[in-house]
Amino acid sequence: METTTDITWLPVCKTTDIPADGGACALVEGKQVAIFNFARRGEWYATQNLCPHKQQMALARGMIGSTGEACEPKVACPFHKRTFSLLTGECLNGDECSIRTYPVKVEGDNVYIGWEAD
């Protein structure tokens, strides 16, 4: 899924801006991006902030966790608890559209989002 070509790494915020095992929303190039600090696993994820179910800008405020044997990381929308894979963006409990995921990297205390030009 992740490609390295044509990606611009944009510094977005400090690691301390995103609560441990939670998320926050950042404005990136005019778009709302939900960034998740999965501290329990030492992983970072980023997705679109819009929940496709009822078109609410809310995913960053959702609870994260994992599901299944493989412990697939997921986020649950705070509105109606639709859950989406943080790896693939796929909706895990319904027939909603998938959500977009973004590459994230952390260097020092800076969080970067990998941006592809549309």
Partner: protein, 834 residues
Amino acid sequence: MVPQHLPTVVVIGNGMVGYKFCEKLLAKSTAFNLIVFGEEPRVAYDRVHLSEYFGGKTADDLLMAPLQWYHDNGITLHLGDAVQEINRDARTVHAHSGLVQPYDYLVLATGSSAFVPDIPGVEKAGVMVYRTIEDLEKIKAYAGSAHSGAVLGGGLLGLEAAKALLDLGVAETHVVEFAPRLMPRQIDDAGSQMLQSKLKALGLQIHLNKATSSIGGEEKIDALHFGNGSILPVDMLVISAGIRPRDELARLAGLDVGLRGGIVVNDEMRTSDASIFAIGECALHGGMIYGLVAPGYDMAEVVVSQLTQGARAFGGYDMSSKLKLIGVDVASFGDPFIAVPHSRSIVFEDAHSGVYKRINVSPDGKYLLGGVLIGDAEAYNMLLQTVNNKLALPPHPEDLMLGARGGEAAEGAGVMSLPDEALVCSCEAVTKGAICAAVTEQSVTTVDAMKKCNKAGTGCGGCVPLVKDLINGTLTAQGAYIKNVLCEHFDYSRQELFDLLKINNIRTYDAALDHFGKGDGCETCKPALGSILAGLWNDLIVKQHTIQDTNDRYLANIQKGGSYSVVPRIAGGEVTPEQLMVIGSVAKKFGLYTKITGGQRIDMFGAHVGDLPDIWEELINAGFESGHAYGKSLRTVKSCVGSTWCRFGLHDSVSFAIEIENRYKGIRSPHKLKGGVSGCVRECAEAQAKDFGIIATEKGWNLYVCGNGGAKPQHAQLLATDLDSATLIQYLDRFLMFYIKTADPLARTATWLNKMEGGMAYLKNVVVNDSLGIAADLEAEMALLINTYHCEWREVVENPELRKQFTHFVNVPRAKDPNVEFEEMRGQKKVKAW
């Protein structure tokens, strides 16, 4: 229509089994011409419950079915007309009245008579048997003038007869038994001794090892003379020394009979003449006479099957039985006597309370083989089922007879663990599967309805408790209350986790997950654990804000479009003009829509997440505090205007509502909590629709609990009446804490109560009578929560780090979500439609 020639079935005998045969045959087929002869003047009645005839039941109460039933079902019934001869060659029966009735099939259900031993003097006045209603009437007539009486025979029927004498007021009642113990066929020595001492305590005098040699007296009995020379003076004697099969007709007709009586039958219940059947106590199967009603019914079923091209056969019968003898439970099941090396026995004996229990377990400890219960036979049905269905025993089989000890539920002993084919009602051959199906498919919810539905429990009645358990068990299972674990990450119920976290002093979600969970958690277990942790330690909720549902994370209610609403506490709905002006000015300044809520307070909608701390700063400075409208916690205690203004009010409901709301504010619970206080019975606060409702009475307050409005409205139920304020608060502390500790996640109090075993009676016992002995703990735990109250919004407003969390874009803190848009309606704003 031309009437066809239907095969004629003649039944000789109109007792319980004869009747049951008719009923079962009719249920299967009406293609028979059914003719019944009975020698007694009345239609079949329930002999099993004969002793209730003395307990006030009339002969009519005991009828199996009224006379009309026979007419309605086209049965020709000849009562009081004994058959005197069977002509097998002509296939006819000849009745006393001279009637000659041809038959195609003949069913002998002649039953048995009381066995009267050949003792000199049995013909004397005052010597009677215990068998029919007529016998009982004779006993009753005689007992009036008798000071003392004896029953010959210490078996099951003999003890029933002794009870009858006691009930009739015979001052001195003796039981005389030839064997060295009572009920020698059913129970062992130790059980018999326990039974004996219990019966003695109830006023029965027991004489064992006594061979009666003669009956003394001139015309009428005055004493029993025993073989050892001793004499027992009595005014009357009831003989109950066993039964003798009524096989004289069969004998006369040349059918095979046993040496000691009984009409020989094969597995199809056919006698030596294939067109003649015998069922019930007159039939000798495999060398056995079955003196119980259940095997008789089974035999009737077999004959019906044979007559209707079925293939059912009789394969012997389990003689397990349970009865209440003079108030003492007596039961034996499976093989009560089997001993080493074929089994090992576990025995429990409590001489003080008169309880004896023995279970016989297979040598490898896997299966139950049989046992005896004296004094407490509550476990009988389950034990019998465990034997009959070869259920695997739990690691501690003694739990089955003693009940679980140490506060844990009995393992493997639940009625729902029975297989579907388990025969629950043996009289009517109803299986567990049929009973459960009646509940799930025909909405049968009571024992009475079950009796109508499939006759379960209508025979001997012994299975009624089990039927009830199965109904309840099935209903419980239907309530989807099956395996009660939190989610895939925690294999525990909320209540279990509550205790585990408390015992292990665990204060964070991560620690709980490390100790008791797996994986990384999810949106189900995180807020549930958040609620448990809050219920235990009442720490600041925002310290672990990422495990909270979004409302608790942002201490506000998320609304359509992603804006939040703000609700300051207005305890009891009482608000000053100054406070109203503050709310007005804050709403105006931040552009908020305002509305009065159902809980008597004011909600301000449309706040941007970044504005929340500023809004609250102004509210707090004006003296408001959080209303916890966002939390699974106490919302409001609604009040009517009460005695201060209302001309009907009995007490000051507003002051009390304010006191209670402030007492429990901020406390987290499994779901939201609502209360109400009404100043009189007019109930203007609608308190009975709340989780707790308080209504003033002349003498104090009535406390109602577990009501609900919402999707499934339910009235609150009365917990206690006429309480003073202090006691009411004490009960409320206990009630709320018990709920907080034991309810499932997101279960309102009404749901919690509906699932509670024992229901309101149990809850009342715990809260009012302290039946669990935890009242003091509950009060102390509640006190901790009350004493650690803090206004969460004050903490946030005063803490710059916490304030930082209230922003939409982390990288543009002052920017608002441009997607949150509003439009105007009736002079206020509303969320812009998409």
